[in-house]
Symmetry: D2
Subunit: 338 residues, 4 copies
């Protein structure tokens, strides 16, 4: 049983509900988020069903625990969630969002140059990695806080929103200072400590699907964030691991309509990782828009062959520009805008 | 080394080439197709490279054996192959092909009724199974030749082309009498005897990708048909098997551009099997068209819940009609027609 | 509902049962095997449950249709099935069976030489391929009937049983003349026509697990053979396809106890294909025996680097001999003999 | 290029090497471990090859960077690594290690009771979870530090070593105070921040293979720990994710010999997770020992049906006792002791 409290519920009200429930033999798990508090109750099924928690002061909604994900589900919220990033950009509505930029921030000049180009082509969010999860400890691990500062400065100049990956619970506060959206990487999709830490903020987070995560596990990771009080969650399909070796990952286009049926949260697609090869990115991007995705994340780099990470899957700015034009037509064909 | 002979190469010319090659220590594999004869030579690499087979009378082309697929590859033929089915329908050109109909032929009236509806909605090829590969021996195994007759009769009435699955080398001749295109099912993708038998005809064949076939294995199966002399091969992506259980199969949209880069042969997509759930079919179909597929195969049934096979993934005719209208717009957005 | 008739059931008795059942609205599927006839009835569940088919003359057993596999299941037969190959060899008992030999029969002298060595090391069944399913049409496709003759001659000399693959319904009769056990290859596990054709004989058949076949699909393939009347079925786990590229296949050791819990039929393991690398074969073989497998199939070749197929996974005869000695100790440790 | 310094290398020597290298255009990554310092150099290949770093004072060994894992590899260290846990227990030698206990620590009495039983049966390391990575935020998340205290107290009473999972960089110091071995869970295998944090201690760590991690990625995660200076790494194969749904995970027995060929580090097997079903655990455990694993991790619980986590895969103490007796015989058959 999940009890969602009203935004203005008082500490006294919380205590009252918990006390009452514990007398009945229920155990309470309290998650205090910035926006609201959520209480999960564990106990005998029949007691749970009989207790009229809905009528307690401060309670907004009570959800039974049959489905494994609650707050994430369409049952909890029928209409699509639209997440506001800034005055110009929202995610989840008619207008598609395009997050573009290099895999890693490699320097101020390089980043400013690429940022200008992707913005000119129509991207409305700037991506770039400052902390990089690399398979090898000897590979470039990102510029760290210096990279974050570059992102903030360029974003300020160009008046564009930003997204970057956070890898460690201890980085959450730092990253929050510099960017607009947290990215939770595929390898950290089930880093539950990190999910809770991000859940304790109110900043939007985009959760990438784990390399071999089921749809259900993915929704459950979003549930961790929401159960901690942060309701601004975006999904990102980025390809799954299969037996096929002709491409780095297998873009799972089915995930788009399935997530949209099961959840009210927006889902975007990353065809750069979803294919792993730059010349497959355009078809993957068009397929994603046609399938109903709420946006795209695309890697763009001016010298792909010299990129410090993921060069093979990065588009040149000129090719990105052509693709954006093509995508506009496809978006229109399915009733969206770009 | 693959030697492709001219269409008018004589038996004498073939014998001359083989004799010469054998003197040099090469072993010849002769595939006599209806359209042309192909000879594969196995032997010491250096001998192969030194022998000027190109200049022998009757020889059209000589291909080195570095890549595993030869006749199937873009190297062998740069321009897209366009396969003529009848005066109205070709596969591989600007106009997309849509194969639609029930999973199984279940009776004359039922088949005629659904055939009229899918034709009216814009389908240009009629699908239906007469021999059904079913996981259980106790499930409906298809109507056999009676089903083939129904297909032929309805196709004659409506002047529409047909496609049906062939499961056994002994059925090839029979099936060839009744329908326009062979379908080689996913479970038979590496039934090499069947591939050779179909290769010995000149009838077009659509090869479905095996449940966990790599792109390379799939191309090699087409190579079996082409090496036997039948050059009318169409690929069909129908979803692959992954760890994900939220859908029956995972539609691999990356396969479309990859096959088109590696091969000159057309590729269509089957979103019915590629998803396994009817309400995911529209997004899968739109994604396929946007990604550049040469056509679609879609299951349509008037009473999905009573279908003798694959009911869960069949669209109602009304929903198919709506989908076709939507697909027309998407096709246009990527420079195609439907 | 599956009705298994007594071995001596008459045609009249069969007709009587079918007539009665059809009056009740049931549809009968009759499978006449060499040993016994099996009738499957499809119809309304309640009618099926109410009809006392058990008391009809000629009926041995009636099975409800809840589980998808019937004749294959432990419910149908509690005790382990032990299949007699000849006076010396059975599969499924305390004594383990070892099938060994080259991937392909490449010539009489080569085959005789390797046969002598594997027999001396303790193998009790000789393996060798005459019809080879190869991914490429340009690879060696086997010696065909000449290979079968070599197998028969060497087996006669050495008084040892033989197993070989059959790939096509049209080869079943031919292959049956020369060898003791049919092998149904992984790529043909769901070649239902071939399963039925083999089911119409009484010769033992070893069904290899498909490259990505589920346990349930595998059992269903055996059900095809048994429903056609041939009860002499052996399973062979040979590794499955996964995302891992460090080995050719992933040996699925869990399959051994699971198949033994669900079915009464024996299961052996092929660590040569299950690993794809000769130096992983010994650990795979020992693991299989320790996990309770009823036997092993191992590829042995005198010049692995020159083998016409599967050289990389073939053991040298000397290494096979060492392995057999080690396996004897492991077999003893788990209460078996080798 | 990886430069491993001698244990007694001075700060001055480190500075000298780095300065010299930077003059040559190389970039140095210094990892200061408790036991030794490791420097990775990135730069032009030819400069790296020409620079005689071996002769610098303080340098023990220089490794080229061709293979992606360096310190983990057999090339770096030919003989097996044997990790000392305490005066009685080592991992990697002739004597196998068995880690047993409940999935989660659920209370002092329960833990002491099960601990006594598994020790009596022959287990030499006690497992138990205090911080639990659960798919759902509403599932039991572990007792936290209270659980760690219980583990320490019971371990002290029974004089037995302990292992527990650490999930967050901020828990490393805490967990280190209470237990003997860190467990890095499958979901955190590529939590690079956590790997580095653990690498900064000298406490042994067992790295579970990620749900769909390749062997290479797994070795690279160990490389993170070793590159940070902690050389006490143990691998744990715990089943991988495949398409098969008959069991929770597919125990990858091939991983045992492959890891032992590629690396000098010990590898143990967890058949509880590797199967997910208690009645498959015995065959999995025996297969692991026969394949050459250096030990086992097995979940044991007195009331599996009431366990707060992983009940379905937990053995009863009586069954664990029987299994240990059987394993002793199998261990002996492959030249090991238990």
């Amino acid at each position: 049983m999940i009890v969602i409290l009203k935004k203005d519920a008082t500490e006294e009200q919380v205590k009252h509900i918990v006390d009452k429930a514990e007398i009945l033999g229920l155990k309470a798990h309290i998650s205090r988020g910035v926006e609201r508090t959520v209480i999960g109750f564990i106990g005998p099924e029949d007691v749970l069903r009989m207790t009229p928690l809905e009528v307690f002061p401060g309670v907004e909604q009570v959800m039974p625990v049959l489905a494994p994900y609650k707050l994430v589900s369409r049952e909890f919220k029928k209409e699509n969630t639209v997440i506001k990033i800034n005055d110009d950009v929202t995610i989840g509505g008619k207008k598609l969002v395009v997050m573009a930029g290099p895999c890693s921030v490699e320097g101020l000049d390089e980043f400013r140059s690429i940022a200008k180009k992707v913005k000119a082509a129509g991207a409305n969010i700037l991506r770039g990695g400052a902390f990089k999860p690399r398979t090898s400890p000897y590979d470039f691990q990102g510029m760290g806080e210096d990279g974050l500062k570059i992102m903030r400065d360029v974003a300020g100049e160009l008046r564009i929103a930003t997204i970057t990956e956070v890898m460690d619970t201890r980085q959450v506060e730092l990253v929050a200072k510099y960017v607009d959206i947290f990215q939770l990487g595929a390898r950290n999709m089930q880093n539950f400590s990190l999910l809770k830490e991000i859940g304790a903020t109110r900043k939007p987070v985009m959760i990438k699907r784990g390399l071999s995560a089921t749809i259900k596990e993915w929704l459950m990771s979003a549930e961790y964030v929401m159960a901690s009080g942060n309701f601004n969650v975006i999904f990102c399909e980025r390809g799954i691991r299969t037996y096929e070796t002709a491409y780095r990952n297998t873009l799972d286009i089915n995930a788009v309509p399935v997530v949209q049926k099961l959840s009210h949260l927006p889902i975007i697609v990353d065809p750069s990782h979803g294919t792993g090869v730059w010349n497959l990115v355009p078809s993957g991007a068009k397929a994603a828009v046609a399938a109903g995705a709420n946006g795209l994340m695309i890697e763009v780099h001016e010298n792909p062959e010299e990129a410090l990470s993921d060069g093979a899957q990065s588009l040149l700015p000129t090719k990105f520009d052509v693709l954006m034009k093509e995508l506009r037509v496809v978006a229109q064909a399915v009733g969206k805008e770009l």
